[in-house]
């Protein structure tokens, strides 16, 4: 392994070293602030290492990993999201009883898995990264050991993720059986000469892999775990699950399809169209029935994955740009929305502050926080002046450009339905504050907001609005990185 190889892998090395360092520090000195600070420093250091790696990109390192513009863009996104989650977690855990330091080790390990995922160009590294991410997440979801909901959520995630992994492995085996290779570029070359559409085993293999990924990014009908896990997991972990875990899988899905040229198989495209339409409709409709903010956001994330699939199906430059921009927007909005839930979730208790009635009248007590939440929800609904609007615009543009009329129309209809439940939360925020006989205020109105979390939320809002009004910066950057996978 040469020096440029090592430089290309520097982000992964720094991240791994940070995880080990945090574990050792936690073993000797249990100080929450120290461990969280070290984690944050490690993540920021890894972000800095990306710039070093950019100097040698694009570069394949071992048959397993590739460090190109695409990898670096998504790594940056994941690391930034992990940093935000670290800040949120600090504020959240600081008022919970029990041991807190191990959470950061898990967080770093999961982030390592996510970065491996977006850098992988081989089924082996794909599986490795995914398992690293999933196994860390089992523990993160169940971290508040005293809560029954969290344990239940973790168990559910464990079992379903296990099933997904099994399907994935079986699919990989089928593909290997037919083509004799596990590397994406080699697969692409073979598939091009093979007429994949005629080979049932191969098609089944690719479909099974897709189903495995579908579980992870919770497409309908593989979404059943999503609302329960979102609700049961502690709010910062939910934010992490919704953004980093799903985003990394989606980035991998896109690279896998672009490298292997699986776009050529019409049967797969029909399958994706059905999955996308089902996700957009079911996600939005089921969200209407919920009264729990975390569950609403869970179903809304299912719908957002459907929107992303529309952009994904379009393929080509526009498709890649649309997916990348939308994912960036989705990261910011989702982190912001769950961030609000997480800074408002008080100490102890069986659940987070996540019932819609907890948020009633928040605007009149805490205008800033409610304002941030409103902006995030409007962005999720795709209202202009935010990244959400530009993202939706790009997704629609990609869909129309590829003449995917049905998915595009369902996207529009789904957005309208989606608007309804986002507005429901916003209406609650602006309603007159409830007068409860016992306490006089809801929990959301008295919990003190941790400083770091508040600052992170303001930063997210600023990014959301700035890149929503001036998207050209990000779009140009994405165009440059997209070239790597096309």
């Amino acid at each position: 392994m040469s020096a440029p190889d090592l430089i290309a892998l520097l982000p992964l090395i720094v991240l791994t070293a940070t995880a080990v360092a945090v574990m050792l520090v936690a073993a000797f000195r249990r100080r929450h602030a120290l461990v969280a600070g070290l984690t944050l420093a490690g993540l920021l250091g890894t972000l800095a290492a990306l710039f070093a790696a950019a100097g040698v990109a694009p570069r394949g390192v071992t048959p397993l990993l590739v460090v190109d513009g695409y990898t670096l863009f998504y790594s940056g996104l994941i690391l930034a999201a992990a940093a935000v989650v670290t800040v949120l977690t600090y504020g959240y855990l600081d008022r919970q009883p029990g041991r807190r330091e191990e959470m950061y080790v898990l967080l770093l390990a999961a982030t390592l898995g996510a970065v491996v995922l977006v850098a992988s160009r081989h089924f082996a590294s794909f599986f490795l990264g995914m398992e690293l991410l999933s196994v860390s997440l089992f523990a993160m979801i169940a971290y508040p050991l005293g809560r029954r909901r969290s344990l239940e959520a973790s168990l559910k995630y464990l079992i379903l993720a296990g099933v997904a992994s099994a399907l994935l492995l079986f699919g990989m085996a089928l593909v290997y059986n037919q083509l004799g290779t596990l590397a994406f570029p080699a697969l692409g070359a073979l598939l091009a000469s093979f007429r994949a559409a005629d080979n049932l085993y191969l098609l089944a293999g690719i479909a099974l892999v897709t189903v495995g990924i579908g579980f992870k990014i919770s497409l309908v009908p593989f979404h059943l775990w999503t609302p329960d896990v979102y609700e049961g997991a502690p709010a910062p972990v939910t934010a992490y699950l919704a953004t980093v875990s799903k985003g990394a899988m989606f980035a991998l899905l896109l690279r896998y399809f672009l490298h292997t040229g699986a776009y050529g198989a019409p049967a797969l495209m029909v399958m994706f169209a059905v999955l996308a339409i089902a996700s957009m409709l079911a996600g939005n409709l089921l969200a209407l029935l919920q009264n729990n903010v975390k569950r609403i956001l869970a179903y809304s994330s299912i719908a957002h994955m459907g929107y992303l699939l529309v952009a994904f199906m379009a393929g080509g430059v526009l498709g890649v740009v649309a997916v990348s921009y939308y994912l960036a927007a989705y990261f910011v909005m989702t982190l912001g929305a769950f961030g609000v839930v997480s800074v408002l979730s008080g100490p102890g208790g069986e659940a987070d502050t996540d019932h819609i009635s907890d948020y009633q009248g928040l605007f009149w007590r805490r205008p800033w926080l409610a304002g941030v939440f409103t902006v995030m929800l409007l962005a999720l609904a795709g209202v202009p002046l935010t990244m959400g609007f530009v993202g939706k615009f790009y997704a629609l543009a990609a869909g129309v450009g590829a003449a995917l009329w049905w998915p595009v129309i369902v996207l529009a209809v789904g957005s309208v339905i989606g608007l309804f439940y986002y507005l429901r939360i916003i209406v609650a925020l602006f309603q007159a504050a409830p007068r409860q006989a016992t306490t006089g205020t809801t929990r959301a109105q008295i919990t003190p907001v941790p400083l770091g979390g508040g600052l992170a939320l303001l930063a997210l809002t600023a990014v959301l609005v700035w890149l929503g009004i001036f998207p050209a910066y990000l779009v140009d950057f994405i165009h440059a990185t997209a070239a790597a996978v096309l």
Binding site: L378, V383, P384, L385, F389, F393, L396, A397, V400, G401, V408, I409, A412, V413, S415, V416, L419, F420, L423, V427, F430, F470, P471, A472, V475, D476, H479
Partner: protein, 502 residues
Amino acid sequence: MILLWLILVLLIGGLLAWLAGPRHPLWSRWVSLASLGVDLALALALWVEAPGGVDLSRGGPWVATLTWSWIPTFGINFHLAADGLSILMTMLTLVLGIASVLASWTEIRERVGFFHFNLLWSLAGTLGVFLAFDLFLFFFFWEVMLVPMYFLIALWGHERRIYAAIKFFLFTQGSGLFMLIAILGLVFAHHSATGTYTFDYFDLLGTRLAPHLAMWLMLGFFFAFAVKLPAVPFHTWLPDAHTEAPTAGSVILAGVLLKTGAYGLIRFVVPLFPEAAHRFAPVAMALGVVGILYGAMLAFAQRDLKRLVAYSSISHLGFVLLGVFAWNLLALQGAVMQMVAHGLTTGALFIMVGAIQERLHTRDMGRMGALWHAMPRMGAVGLFLAVASLGLPGLANFVGEFLTLLGSYRVSVPLTVTATVGLVAATVYALILVQKVFHGRPREHWEAADLGARAMAVMLTLIALVVWLGVYPQPVLNTAHPALSAALTPPARVALSTGAAP
């Protein structure tokens, strides 16, 4: 640059009004008035500079333009421009904006700063709609004006405000998304024909489209504008939103937001898709006539005073739909005149209804009657507005309706004759309003103050405008003329003549 300032002044004014609100409510009212006044002065300057038959050296009817690159990879520019039509709509927006700030002077007492913020931002979005000539930018402003209006209804509205606000938002946003799909379809069709991505209005004019594609795209645009106008099957959000909104919200909704739908029809639907619009014209004109009659009938059947005025809007805007799709100069002039006249009279009517509700705390006409004795000034104003609304010759609404009918008569005699029946129906509901509210036996004893000096000043100004435009409509007709005749010429030539402009 002046076009950008028109929008920026309102945006900044809105922020200042919000900040000033907690210190003293009066401050935010004055800040709002000042920024609207400055804006109106700018718009008037633009109008005076380029009066009547605008003939600019650039060869098009454009008074001012501004182009900045925004998302270059997609050919999206920040492109503002104004012709006579845009300027007329801008001035209408600002006049009604000032009127609505004054009308809510005593009505809005809670969260005054945030109220004025929303009011001004909604107006800024509307100005953007009237001035944007990049389709992406147009859609952007189209959506931007909704959110503040949603808050105006949801926070300061009446009994069923949440329901009305959500309904309003869902209808307009949903229809807007179909317009976005149509915009994208047009852009990609243009891209496949020429190889360049552009969202610019002037580049997209004259794009060659397959007939069935043109029809679908046209319907996408039409749907959004028909919901906003509103044309009849898509009108159900309007009575709720108008009735539940606070006075200022109703004035802006009726006077300005509905006009964006009409403006869109004139500016986009017909020029971009002339053949498809021509084929669709009989359906659209029929919808217009149905709207005229249906709105008038339902207005007649209301007990709620505000709902009556809301339904009368549907009837009045039916004329606009009829006029636009008749697509000749007379009918278009009539439609524009009707837009301005309806904005002024219905805005004033909503202010009057708001004043009555503020005094009596009810909108139920069954409980009113003989209010003329208690409030003689209000009665006189109400009578005038009702008569203007029913289209008395010598007042602005008459000019609009008359020109529209004259123009549509050349296209379809049966539809025009049927539409004329709407004028009779308008007489009925307008006189019923006066009878039930101001005349007749008093059903309850009301002690209420008459209209104050501030309200009278607003009313008299609006009334003076209605009389002026009724007696001498030429300024409006002249201002709109170059824009409308440019829109009427075949699109290819329009594209050529403005293609030379930088």
